[in-house]
């Protein structure tokens, strides 16, 4: 005998209640799925954002702050490096190219960063998506997501979050850049940045251009007495040089860090937090599944005479077992599937938030980990469903009929 038609009829008869149970379990599954997907996405996105930066050199202080300012463009007041650091770094044999990072100004919420031309194209590995790289002091390349078109004029102001019509805004009057190119997307906060020659940032602040002999020149090599910069990004030729330059610039009043070593520490913390959240999500799921099983046990008790009648009509014990088991299993498997979908929505919500507030492009997709998680919880549910099924299986017919 096939119990499935009866299972289906029973589920349909109690549609609203079953739907509530499915959603209850699905929400618990979604929590676990979203936590797992978000943690993986954050790791991936922040590692990708750091990829173009091999080594950052700055003044001694917090390596985390240096990385947050340099890679993730979080507004931080970094002290200036001594003038000889940048020219010294650009002469290092192991350095493929170096770029100063001059923060501080902004335009309509986009940070303006003074850099070397190589940074806009990642040393040639990421050509501009539109237009060309900057070649003159008053030219700018905008990040992939800056709302400015080629040919637009950009007037820098201090700080972030000022509008052009703000009366008190500190505007560098008389200075403006023309947008000549757009960077290819990086998936990181640099997509919202505006890249200008570092020489123009120095000039705006009255420091000269770092090229006394050729005032119009941009890029390396800079004069030995070029103005200071808050941080320098170094792109190295080979693995050994990365460590040589790192050691060399960790002494003598500067510090050098691989963004990856800071990220490794942050990821370890993130992983710990993720592990705690996962434990809570699994505990919540176990509680919800337990309460669903309780509901089913109560329902079986309430309908014990129906089950007894089935048995009296000749249904074997195994039929009753399969009937109850299939119903519970159907609820839990459906919940796993709905939970995956809900988890995907949650993960995409978090991704949208990270995009807005951190400038990080999280994939917001589900990986094999999340599918395994949903499968595991559905699987555990199938096993747990044996409990109420067995209780229905054991019930005696005579007793069930008597209590009718």
């Amino acid at each position: 005998m096939n119990p499935l038609p009866l299972v289906w009829a029973d589920l349909r008869a109690r549609g609203a209640g079953i739907l509530a149970l499915v959603l209850l379990v699905a929400f618990a599954v979604a929590m676990g799925v979203a936590v797992s997907a978000t943690e993986r996405g954050l790791r991936r996105a922040s590692a990708d954002a750091a990829r173009p930066f091999d080594l950052l050199v700055g003044m001694p202080g917090s390596p985390t702050q240096l990385v947050l300012a340099g890679v993730y463009l979080q507004p931080t007041a970094l002290p200036l490096l001594p003038p000889e650091t940048l020219p010294g770094l650009s002469r290092e044999k192991g350095a493929a190219w170096v770029s100063p990072l001059g923060f501080g100004d902004s335009w309509r919420g986009s940070p303006i960063v003074g850099v070397a031309p190589e940074l806009a194209i990642d040393g040639g590995r990421r050509p501009v998506a539109e237009g060309r790289n900057f070649e003159k002091l008053d030219e700018a390349v905008v990040g992939a997501r800056v709302k400015a078109a080629l040919g637009d004029t950009i007037e820098p102001s201090h700080g972030i979050g000022q509008d052009d019509d703000d009366g008190d805004a500190h505007v560098h009057h008389g200075t403006h850049y023309t947008v000549v190119g757009r960077m290819a997307p990086t998936g990181g906060p640099w997509d919202r940045a505006i890249l200008v020659p570092i020489e123009s940032v120095w000039a705006i602040h009255g420091f000269g251009t770092g090229h006394a002999a050729e005032p119009e020149r941009i890029g390396a090599p800079w004069d030995a007495d070029a103005p200071g910069v808050p941080a320098v990004a170094v792109n190295v030729r080979d693995v050994a040089s990365a460590y040589v330059i790192r050691s060399k610039y960790r002494t003598g009043g500067t510090t050098a860090v691989f963004p990856a070593e800071v990220l490794a520490g942050l990821f370890a913390t993130l992983g710990d937090v993720g592990a705690v959240l996962r434990v809570f999500a699994i505990a919540a799921q176990a509680l919800v599944v337990a309460s669903v099983l309780m509901v089913v046990l109560v329902a079986i008790a309430a309908r014990r005479n129906l089950i007894a009648i089935l048995r009296a009509l000749g249904a074997p014990r195994i039929f009753v077992f399969l009937l109850v088991w299939s119903e519970v299993a159907a609820i839990l498997v459906a919940a796993g599937a709905v939970g995956l979908a809900l988890g995907l929505c949650l993960a995409q919500g978090v991704a949208a938030w990270a995009d807005r507030s951190l400038g990080l492009a999280l994939p917001g997709t589900l990986g094999s980990d999340e599918f395994l998680l949903a499968l595991a919880s559905a699987g555990a549910g199938l096993v747990a469903a044996v409990l109420p099924a067995a209780s229905a299986y054991r019930r005696s017919v005579a007793e069930g009929l008597r209590s009718a």
């Binding site: 790791r43 990856a260 490794a264």
Partner: protein, 131 residues
């Protein structure tokens, strides 16, 4: 499941055997390193601070990269490093902890297309565990 470092058939290779000479004009690989090239070896060393996040490679050094402020000088940094490519991404180890790495020895200058880094000595398909 412990990585199969201990039981794996790999010849032990020491950092001292990697190079015969290392100068301004270039370097020459050691006899033992040349003899073991292309074969599975086991090396013991320390994991240097990671160069790239979420990647499958790290740098193995003879000495731990100084965490001690009294030892830190650029002269400390040795040139005989080995770039280790892992079979799968593994969490970062404490740089002061000794590790064993088993992998296929590869010699000669090679440019990693993904990172753009050049390296001279590599271990491929590697697995690691604390020594």
């Amino acid at each position: 499941m412990p990585p199969a470092v201990a039981g794996s058939p790999g010849e032990k290779l020491a950092f001292a055997d990697l190079y015969k000479s290392f100068g301004v004009l270039g370097y020459e690989f050691g006899d033992r390193a040349r003899e073991l090239a292309g074969r599975p070896v086991v090396m013991r060393g320390y994991m240097a601070p990671p160069l790239k996040a979420e990647s499958n490679f790290f740098v193995l050094t003879r000495q731990p990269m100084a965490l001690c402020p009294f030892c830190q000088s650029d002269a400390d940094w040795p040139v005989d490093i080995v770039v280790v490519y892992l079979k799968r991404t593994q969490p970062v180890y404490d740089p002061s902890r000794r590790i064993d790495v088993a992998g296929m020895l590869e010699l000669g200058s090679w440019l990693d297309p993904e990172t753009g880094f050049v390296s001279a000595i590599r271990l491929r398909e590697s697995e690691l565990r604390a020594a």
